[in-house]
Symmetry: C2
Subunit: 364 residues, 2 copies
């Protein structure tokens, strides 16, 4: 097991990474203050891992909430259901929530934990690669509005993150690829050597070879923890973690949440950001090709869906948290491993990127 | 104009109190970072004060959201409507929300501000006595669940509070009395001299005599600001501000939100807390009588509704944020001006209080 720390003063917390951790009571118990625990998971994960986790937490008063699987359920309606489940037990404000699942479960459980009785503790047990390398670390919680992704949420840190690499063996290949998009993103913004390594070992990671997998998760968590420790509330450097996300969120909202996986939309979004970066004279074409090639080799899309036209993409991108006083701020690349935030690009270039980076549309 | 400060480090903010402040652009503009402002108010307040406030904010991009009046609308459905209003503009994360209204408007606007794009600034312009003396100060935001009051929310501080005493002249007498309940509460927990003064000047305050009114609001805000500065997230002393509220929330939920005003439920709740305090040997009977007498003289109920029986009250009280590991923590009184939190009372005494402090029930 490897243990990293997210350093946030009194709200610092550990990230444990390794095989077989999901039922390590010794890792969880120190973070449970009261007698009550509510595990939140989904209908896909519950049959696989819920019973063992309940048994692991024997001695606490454990309740469970199983919600439908998918981004489409990450909304205020599901949030209210979870709150009512807590109130029916009834759980008091010493209850600890446990998020057992991927990014959707982590985001909504974190938000419920942050809001229930104005805040109760929670533990992340991420079960997807995406959640293990990215979304479970850093305290971003949210649900979607029909009008925009992650528009309702808060910064609320977990008490600990337990990334059990064993659970990835039950993850569908498509989800593994989607998670790998965030791995590529992490390397792209901050770590050229890691990117070089990924070019060599991507297939090993996707084949879940133990050493490559652990190294990947650890390196991503290390970078994310450093960024979050430096800038918890995204006033500065943390915004770099949104590389590809402004494009990606527009794709997700435009298609309807859940049609493309988040990581798939981010994959296409990173290719679009790289294209914009070349057009803006920031990035060289050879690097752009390497980026696109790695993204494709992971089985991810490299273009936005043909059915969303350029004008619609632009409109969707305007409803993004990175918009300030009307300007869409984009994360662009100067080089592999070196990203910047820019609001001062030529808007014609953005239009050109949106036009040229659409799939050949037979579905328009 | 009097100005106090809530001292919370980088999140400190001023409270301005006085006549004619609601249209003082100079008090608001320093707290508006971007170009966009969304004013949230209700259908009762909008015809009275909204147009002038929009004119005051001329030069900003001002949007307005007018919701139905009443506690019954303080829920996630209204919250989602407000979020969608923001997204339709679209407002970015530099938008500033302005809460123009009573406790309901302040609570829900603060919660929306805390959650929209993970947090945008907001300004409180409280228009009820209750909001001016209590709920607009201190950063408690929330909406209700059908299963419990204020169960969904967060601590999120405003940028400033502007208490315009002029607006109280349009407030119905019943609402004025309800606000006075929180005035009495503030004196009871921390300031015996203020209580003595209230016994003499209650009718002058309720008649809106300018000096008595300003002194009352200022003293309540001073005490509240001190308590909040000491204990922002209610780990200790701040919980004393809940005197009468565990009983009161049970009454509000039991009757259905909005049947009794919050202050009315707190009025009855404080009489019940005083009764418990006497039964527990903490408070003398003469003090209890003075408390009940002042509460009655303000036109507030001093008993719980006859239609909620003792068993139901107890069940409702168990769904309260002051419950920890099963024990209902109550705020009790040792003397006028001296409160304590107790989880170690005789539960028979609580049952006796609930039995004896019900209205004679012809409505059972």
């Amino acid at each position: 097991m490897r243990t990293l720390s997210v350093d946030l003063g009194t709200r610092s917390y550990p990230i444990h990474i390794g095989p077989g951790l999901r039922n390590r009571r010794d890792l969880m118990a120190p973070h449970i203050d009261g007698r009550q625990v509510m595990i939140v998971t989904n209908q896909t994960i519950a049959p696989l891992y819920l019973r063992d986790l309940v048994a692991t937490l024997d001695g606490f008063e454990v309740s469970t909430s199983v919600i439908a699987d998918g981004e489409t359920y990450k909304n205020l309606t599901t949030m209210e259901t979870l709150i009512e489940n807590l109130l029916r037990v009834p759980c008091d404000r010493k209850v600890t929530l446990v998020a057992l699942g991927g990014g959707v479960i982590g985001d909504i459980t974190g938000f419920v934990a942050g809001c229930y009785q104005r805040g109760v503790p929670f533990i992340q047990i991420p079960t997807t690669l995406l959640a293990q390398v990215d979304s479970s670390v850093g305290g971003k919680t949210a649900v979607n509005s029909a009008l925009g992704k992650n528009m309702i949420g808060m910064f609320y840190q977990p008490r600990c993150v337990i990334a059990d690499t064993d659970v990835l063996h039950t993850l569908p290949a498509r989800e593994l690829s989607a998670g790998f998009a965030e791995v590529i993103k992490t390397a792209l913004i901050r770590d050229r050597q890691f990117f070089d390594w990924l070019e060599e070992y991507a297939q090993a990671v996707l084949a879940l070879e133990a050493d490559a997998l652990t190294r990947t998760i650890e390196q991503c968590c290390r970078i994310k923890a450093a960024v979050v420790s430096e800038d918890e509330r995204e006033q500065g450097v943390r915004a770099l973690l949104n590389l590809g996300h402004t494009f990606g969120h527009a794709i997700e909202t435009g298609l309807g949440h859940g049609r493309w996986l988040h990581g798939e939309a981010v994959g296409a979004g990173m290719c679009m950001a790289a294209d914009m970066s070349v057009r803006s004279g920031l990035l060289d074409e050879a690097s752009r090709q390497r980026i696109e090639s790695l993204i494709r080799s992971a089985g991810l899309p490299s273009r936005s869906p043909g059915k969303i036209d350029q004008a619609r993409m632009l409109k969707l991108m305007r409803v993004d948290k990175k918009v300030e006083d009307g300007a869409i701020k984009l994360v662009l690349l100067r080089a592999i491993g070196d990203a910047l935030i820019s609001g001062e690009y030529d808007s014609d270039m953005l239009v050109a990127t949106l036009e040229s980076m659409r799939e050949e549309s037979s579905t328009a």
